[in-house]
Amino acid sequence: MSRNVDLSIEFCGIRFDSPFLLAASPCTDDAEMVARAFQAGWAGAVLKTTSVEDTPVDLVYPMIVGLDHEDKRIFGLGNIDLISHHHIDVIEERIRTLKARFPDKIVAASMMAATRENWTAVARRLSRAGADLIECSFSCPQGTLGSKPGFMLGQDPELAGEVTGWVKEGAGPTPVVIKITPQVADIVEVAQAVKEGGADGICASNTIPSLMGIDLETFEPYPRVDGKSTYSGLSGPAIKPITLRVIAEIARHVGIPITGTGGASDWRDAAEFMLVGARTVQFCTAPMHYGYRIIDHLKDGLERYLRSKGMQAAGELVGRSLTHLVNHEELSRTKKVVSRIDSRLCIKDDLCYLACRDGGHQAIELGEDRIPIMDEEKCVGCGLCLSVCPVPGCLRLEEVSREKAPAEDNSE
């Protein structure tokens, strides 16, 4: 029997029919594509970033490089893309068309500029065109406008706060979200600054400046553009843990609505983003890899998950994990855990033995039948063996009473 679960969620005063939207990307740089995404069921889309600077957007190709992990393609995806090469007139027209066709879907516009006048002017134009939300890219790692190479606005808290104010001036009633970069020393400081600058929300975060790899035959880095290359912005599953940390840090220390993006591939990732504080989740690499159709599985998975947890609405997830998150020094030192094996599940690859021997505490021995034997005296419960075991549930950490344990191991 199924109870209805409400997937819709509010963010910056706007109701999304689900937490799932498309991030500013090639996925959203064409009105017909976005229309198809809406028809497929996405709650909203952030149109690819626009601007009004004099120089035309000069894209280079190839601009995309996949990072494989063993037999899996696109563990990460690097790009040297720039903002939309379409004129802002075109973007305005898209906003109007899409809103007319899909009044219940959220059409957000992404922008960047180089001068105060333009930050304000572009925001005004997008607001007047009918954008539901304005997202400002303070964080595109490549092709920065009007400043020193490689510099991102999101790396200067003071400037970020100030520019947020300029955007707010032009945006009028339209909520403004600032898309920040994880590439900073203190993410909280930046988030606090844009909040004080008047931002309605934060998009956390963006791709990470990266070098995607080197062709070992020619020595040219990827992507190879006529024998030369440059740094890419890395997205995809590889950066998910970084994004999770960024969202969690902002949620813990800055009271501001968060839309999460960077490395979410499925509903499980999205749920994790929400559990540390995101209200909506933006996707880019996953639909670029597998198409808009993944929205069916995102919604179905999240809905069943919420139901299984006895929740009625997606919003109930937001921030639920934060109480479990503390600083390192606050972690418990009073309980000892040890690794235990369910030998019925063991497939005798003995990777746990090797890992513990060469990367742990020599707490595992091998029986004559190759089944690992745990030495609970030596085991400190580090968790490495669980990480290497290919069989889920074969190894687990169990609490043992501290009294029975030997003298404390202070080696770590």
């Binding site: 063993e70 037999d71 497939i347 033995y353």
Partner: protein, 448 residues
Amino acid sequence: MTEQSMTRAEYLQEVEPLFQDHQARLEASRCLFCYDAPCTRACPAGIDVAGFIRRLKEENAAGAAQLIFEANILGGTCGRVCPVEILCQEACSHTELSDPIQIGRLQAYAWSRGYDRLDITAPKKTSPGRVAVVGAGPAGLAAAAELARLGLGVEVFESGEGAGGVLRSGIPAYRLPEEVLQSELRLIDRLGVTFNWNREFGRNLLLDELRSAGFDAILLALGLGQSARVGIPGEELKGVFWAADLLSMIKRDPQGREELAASLGPRVVVIGGGNVAVDTACSLLRLGVAGVSLVCLEGPGEMPAFPSEVRFALEEGVELVTRSRPLRITGDEAGTVSGLEGVGIEWKEPGCFLPENAVSIPGTEFRLRADSVVEAIGQRCPRGVLETLELELTPQGLIHVDPETGQTSDPVIFAAGDMVTGGATVVQAVAGGKKAAREMYRSLEGKK
């Protein structure tokens, strides 16, 4: 041509095509890289299987081939002909998760990509002696390579005109392309091994001759040269063949092989249930013989042929006539084969698949029409060779050796391969040859 024969594979078409680069990387990526890997333990030749797969994953095919080569000079061959499903792949831990890693195919791939880039250092000339190897089959070749790498002077004496033994003349080209064996023989040449052709042991090559020629140790690895006879009436008819002869003619005569198959007539019956019987039946089908039946005493799950071989035979269109005892080969007035008569059997004692345990079932007599009959029930050591050696023999009439060392009752003479085991896999012959080689080296080192 029947419809079935229209779709048949060509004789040279490989059973298992080589992996392409990306396929190999994908397959290698599945490997768990176990500690003290069970696959490595299961390899009779001692190849570091997990190690070479790791190198393939890292796109280092030459390094992978080096690991294979160091343990098994016939690594390319074994990648194709090893019964991996009962050796390394059976041991694979990944079986518990999904399917075993396709180790044989990865080994064949590694070899093909890396054998021409191996590091082969010329052995240092610190030779404790000179050694003769009699027979250039898998055991003899493996021993010769091992001895050469240990720094000994090695001479191989072979009755035929080329090396390889069963690899050269027995295993069909669709399972083992000629160039694989040739690549391995070139490596053995590079190790400095000398070959003497057309020297048949017991005829124009005598043990005393080798002793007096100053060899410090002698390895006998002659294999089993003589085909066993079923021993039924009609074996003298025109159109009765022995599998080893037929397979050799097919393998060694690329131009004439189709003509040869055609000369057998449209219906051929093969007697035997082992791998050689299957190889013969499938070779003949691939060369255009219209119908091939395989008659054997054992049931489908009881045949000595590897299970994968039996499945292959069925896929190729061989008609299996199992649990059947051939009684007589019939002939026409001209003395030419016209058919085979047989009878169904059951086992007296369950689980014992030997001829003396088979009981004919009255009323199940049958007759198969045949233009030719091929007997493929195994090989024996040629009569007269062993008897003259004054070496201790086993009750089965094989050379007795110390299982740990390969040493015969004469401390200077070692033996390996099928003439010790009575007939086993290529990789077991390699393992036996290697072991004997090391012991020979050790015994000569001790004498220095």
